[in-house]
Symmetry: C2
Subunit: 399 residues, 2 copies
Amino acid sequence: MNQLFSDRILNSKKSFIREILKVTSNKDIISFAGGLPNPISFPTSALRDAMTTVTDKNGSHIFQYATTEGYLPLREYIAKRYQIKHGLSINAEDILITSGSQQGLDLIGKVFLNKSDSILIEKPGYLGAIQALSLYEPHFHQVDLLEDGVDLDQFKTRLAQDTMKLFYSVPNFQNPTGLTYSRANRQALGLMLTHTQTVLIEDDPYGELRFFGEDLPYIQSFSNCPSILLGSFSKIVTPGMRIGWICTTHPQIMEKLIIAKQASDLHTNYFAQRVIYQYLIDNNLEEHISHIKKLYKEQCEAMVSSIHKYFPENIKVTQPEGGMFLWVTLPKYLSSLKLFELASELKVAFVPGEPFYIGEIPQNTLRLNYTNSDIQTIDKGIRRLGEAIHKLIKNTVTY
Amino acid sequence: MNQLFSDRILNSKKSFIREILKVTSNKDIISFAGGLPNPISFPTSALRDAMTTVTDKNGSHIFQYATTEGYLPLREYIAKRYQIKHGLSINAEDILITSGSQQGLDLIGKVFLNKSDSILIEKPGYLGAIQALSLYEPHFHQVDLLEDGVDLDQFKTRLAQDTMKLFYSVPNFQNPTGLTYSRANRQALGLMLTHTQTVLIEDDPYGELRFFGEDLPYIQSFSNCPSILLGSFSKIVTPGMRIGWICTTHPQIMEKLIIAKQASDLHTNYFAQRVIYQYLIDNNLEEHISHIKKLYKEQCEAMVSSIHKYFPENIKVTQPEGGMFLWVTLPKYLSSLKLFELASELKVAFVPGEPFYIGEIPQNTLRLNYTNSDIQTIDKGIRRLGEAIHKLIKNTVTY
């Protein structure tokens, strides 16, 4: 009997988080498990106005097939924002609009990875990237993420041990940890990568959501290796429209990405691109982002303060400067999977750390999202989680 | 020096049609090259109404992340349409919403194909499928498409020669030829596939656009092999929103497709799904499709009649019962690539047959699209093309 399915899909598990989210669809459960923006941050009425404007101004044309690269004025807008915010010399032809930045990861897999190529990601690393790239059957290597960025000694050793096809990083408010690479860390990584052929991927969906401190340059500013930035409107306008982008000034890489994009879905929803663009030119994006940051900063601070109130003292939590997540490290003898069960009984959910690791898996970590719950709910949920932790400690000691 | 790119992308060419479309972006050129619906067929104002209704009724929720499978009521609508129109026992859980049916092809590649697997497609075959599946590095085999469907002897021989992982077909008004499989042909193919493990893919973007004759059952109705249908709103509502679907009653296949979809782009634009669904329930789709069919039938007949007027007699043209394309076969000694050059000088464009073949390539075929030009333009363009053919014959005889 022949094998019906491909090796790549037989080796892919159902998403752990998907399964958890099914459990948490119960309305009674307070969920810190997802990675959802707060819907009160969506500019609903401005998007409604943008739709009617776009349709009334352009008629049927906006419902036609469109170019693979994306709507040119939108690409120009994105390029200009990189120029203004980061002083990068990026032009519209360096931007490819994608169906969310998740699709960017798929296209990167398509364009760069042969089966068994070695690639390097953070430990813990972004689950969506692990899923997307897994389908191209590479050998994953992980490098520890510390408070100020990647462990540089480990990074150096990994680069020396094996030819790494790419290094995938989330330098700002990383998912799952909320950690941010320091300037010094970025510089050191950039220098180590210079003149390697490792492709540097910087995925930056949260970069605009900085609560305090200053914006830092991308790692690519310190390097000459081939490099790619991934960006998205999901966290600053709307995730449901799936509008992201890939940015690279390397023309050959862009050419290959366009071929892969065309084969994958022809082009990204054109109407949605037009609506987002209309929204951007008719509204003050900076002001809108300020509102989101204020909201999330309060929610983040509320979660941290509730954690200090309800969790035992020997539990470590990251202090994010922005983004959407907190990372909790329990004492080594406690299991976050067991905690998940106890927490479910108390009607609160989170993501155990397991899916963010490849190979050796620490049992005592977990991710908390604070963006999609109000402050009262955060306090209530963290209180329940604190109870669950106390129960877990008691149970673990008892056995 | 290491190889920067993957083998799959190094072996992929830029799309031939993309390059042609660049030439035809010149406004003076009459283009029968693209595969675009006529924008006058888009229900622009009804879609505008659907957007405002959806936004006003639901608020911010429609801009949030959504499920990978797609919006349940839309999946139910599609399933019900299969029940009503084809008597198929399809339920919502058999439908996965995709970012255009092009993405369906990519997901099929991901889920079924290991490198070097043998797959079978029509000759000539749909270029978009060749591009999408190529990235999974299979061995393509082609089987001749005749007036009434696939060459059955060849099909039998191919199945006997090699284990075919899948058979990809466009049974209604095929792209590029406009040909339709007869009932007898479908039945014979279905029987030959029964109890094989070849996955039967029926891609049916044009099936609703039948100008005359009766709807025919899908090949899968005559077979027990694992099977998949691909569908799309691109030709009956709007292509720019990229809403297509995969339909399979095989639960394991669906499970794998969902995993692949999630890794590829998380989910399809949720807002667009809601808008399309609102459009479908607030409007009479059958009536709308009748308008499109009337329009395209007239354009098709105009093109055929102009061809009879302006082309030499020894040129063969298909007589489609629906869809968007005509297929022209020149006498064997004439080259459609040379014709393309002469036609460009006379400001008319088409797609030479070359990109629809793998391996041995007939030089004398070409595809004409009639849906995106009005009747006057069709006559003018076909007159120019007739002139170009007469020139080509003269030149070819002279040399």
